[in-house]
Symmetry: C2
Subunit: 429 residues, 2 copies
């Protein structure tokens, strides 16, 4: 029986072997011009569509196992791939092919007084690791974005999607190879949790690790990893209805932010209402929310309004202000004024997306300046914090940290930069 230390060494060796192959491949894709990368992306898309039957069959096995193991219905849905979803994933690759190449972009530059020509150029990260959960379409998105940005990627999907991911990755690797690019630019990391821990310890071998999934996964990765990480996705988002809000607009935004999709990080979890408009706004807002099945968690003063609106009401406890429900639940509080709203958001926001509904320029400006979040909305739904909606064309996650990337991450966020300094013999004196 191997000792735990030996086991750990073996897992580290597995990751090192993968990372070394990825490093070699990354050197090739880093220097591959856009035309060839785009051609490979289109080939990968075609290959996925051609392999639909094989992918759907592998996925059916995963789904069946998931069902037998009691996976929740919403996770089973996220796990499932049918022909349409395979086609959609392939279309995602085609869209990425259409995006500008971030590699080689000159970010800034100048000529120094001694004649050095200095430019900061965007370059690939190198080897990017992704740790994610059920959705197998992330496998395709991440591979496409990594390739376009000149990186090699090590994919660690959820065990629930094991067979699906294996087929997806094999199809994409074969397509890369057929295009004369190294298959090892896209690799799957298989094995148990220990191998994931080894990936988190692969500092120097992996340049960036992106966790994408539930709060537990993200917390584990950002606290245990020695590889630089980007924290993604936890969103305790607020909508604040200001004194000067248009109430029709407020209703549309609150309903959209809460109910358009509940399981996503940019859904609203708390509604704050300025006291001066509470009497006019709350009955209307809570009625609209109740009609869509939203349970209200509120301070006692809200209970009677909620009852009149036919809303299910629960007295709010401290956790309600901090939690990301990801469900048809909404915490609701009346605040004294804009300062009250800012105080509440400062205390409880996860720094993802917070929105104000107001017609008052000064209130909007203070909200934008003082709320410390990846995205601040004025008179728009929190749901717009999304790479696709902002025109990035694709998204690899939404960063809620301040280092390197904040908000939706796409091609540019998968790059670093390099200073190129050209002289004709300059030395320092």
């Amino acid at each position: 029986m191997p000792s735990p230390t030996l086991g750990r060494m073996n897992e580290q060796a597995v990751v090192s072997r993968l990372a070394e192959a990825a490093r070699g491949a990354s050197r090739v894709v880093a220097l591959t011009p856009r035309g060839r990368k785009d051609k490979a992306l289109l080939s990968m898309a075609d290959a996925l569509v051609a392999a639909t039957d094989e992918i759907v069959a592998a996925n059916a096995e995963d789904v069946e196992r998931g069902r037998a193991e009691g996976l929740r219905a919403n996770l089973l849905d996220r796990l499932t791939l049918d022909a349409d979803r395979v086609a959609a994933a392939a279309d995602g690759l085609r869209q990425v092919a259409g995006l500008a190449d971030p590699v080689g972009e000159v970010v800034r530059g100048s000529t120094t007084p001694t004649g050095l020509q200095v430019r900061q150029v965007r370059v690939p990260m190198g080897v990017v690791g992704m740790i994610y959960e059920a959705r197998p379409n992330v496998t395709v998105d991440a591979a496409g974005l990594a390739l376009k940005s000149g990186n090699a990627v090590i994919l660690r999907g959820g065990s629930a999607a094991e067979r699906t991911n294996a087929v997806l990755v094999q199809v994409m690797r074969d397509a890369l190879e057929a295009e004369g690019l190294p298959a090892d630019a896209v690799q799957l990391l298989e094995g148990d949790r220990e191998v994931v821990k080894a990936l988190m310890r692969a500092r120097g071998e992996v340049d960036l690790l992106i966790p994408r999934g539930g709060a537990g996964l993200i917390q584990t990765v950002v606290t245990e990893s020695t590889v630089p990480t980007i924290e993604t996705g936890v969103g305790n988002c607020h909508v604040y209805v200001d004194a000067a809000a248009d109430l029709e607009m407020a209703e549309a935004i609150v309903v959209n932010a809460k109910t358009h999709r509940t399981s996503v990080c940019n859904a609203a979890e708390t509604l704050l209402v300025h006291r001066s408009v509470a009497a006019a706004a709350l009955p209307r807002l809570l009625t609209a929310l109740a009609a869509r099945g939203v349970t209200i968690h509120g301070d006692p003063e809200i209970e009677s309004v909620a009852q009149a609106a036919d809303a299910t009401f629960e007295p709010a406890i401290e956790d309600d202000w901090a939690d990301e429900y990801l469900s048809l639940d909404l915490a609701v509080r009346v605040v004294a004024d804009l300062d009250g709203a800012l105080d509440h958001i400062r205390r409880y926001s996860s720094g993802h997306t917070d929105a104000i509904v107001t017609g008052d320029r000064a209130a909007a400006r203070r909200f934008v300046d003082e709320v410390d979040a990846a995205a601040v909305m004025v008179n728009a739904s929190t749901r717009f914090t999304d790479g696709g909606e902002l025109g990035f064309g694709a998204e690899i996650g939404i960063s809620t940290q301040k280092l390197h990337a904040r908000g939706p991450m796409a091609l540019q966020e998968l790059t670093s930069t390099k200073w190129v300094i050209e002289g004709d013999g300059q030395v320092r004196d």
Copy 2:
């Protein structure tokens, strides 16, 4: 006697109290317009000059204690402040006042098809921690750069500079307060190593931690910290003299890169020479280096050339290629060609700065494209990887990681961004 757990809790509480005060101050300085920040920087500079006697006296105590404790001469020199060095530190603050404000800069923006006005705006990080070693001028530089970029800073200097740093920080805090800005925007973290560990665990309270100093310090911080960090400073820098090099230029660059200042991260540590010019280049290069007291660590084939050049010669072992000497030592190797140089650099470079000397466009382009480093030089000394030399006006360290910042870090690197999205009622469908 307190239990270790209690002690640890107390240290965490000390850091939390500091960080909370810093957070409050950061909210004020984040919204302080440039004019007031610049005025405060100038006041801090004047206050430091006015307090010269007090600073020099406190520093003399540190230096005396350092000498008694057997601190090495070069560290004693770094530790020492006289009136000129205080004036230079104050001048640094005045220069920072003259730099453009990074806060509020619009990085990119667009209007979406549905009429959302989207802009990505540069905002302060919030609370920045600095852990550094002997040089007390870093205390002043870091405080100035943090204030200008709208951040609060928690400074943890080396214990050798304890009394000096206490006076410097007190003088700057008083100046801030006199200008109506919160003194807690600049704070000193005192106490033993446990308190530094507590700072590294203050995730969520501190937004960014920058270690600046020796390899040991940096390694400890980047591997143990749960706060996002930026790895700085280790430089195993290479100069490659290509077949098509102008040998006069090569001599000037190699001598400057190695001997201009040996204790800095952008000094050259390895010289690689293309075999086809080795016979012409090496005698000349080694003679010039020997004249400046440089010891050559080389492959056996170099020994006779080194002896002819009157250079001290040591046979190179594996460590010589990987080490950052920070002294008058240079590893020297003849490589078969450009590929040989690229292979060597790929294997041993710390990714700080690598230089090629060549008149050949194709060789320069390949070197620039294929060397994976923060800075790549063509026909210029490695010593130019420096915020001041590149026109940043100041520098808080040189990042050798790829996430967030790479190369010299100044005001921009102390900022994050925020997406501001303004609509007129848009919701997603």
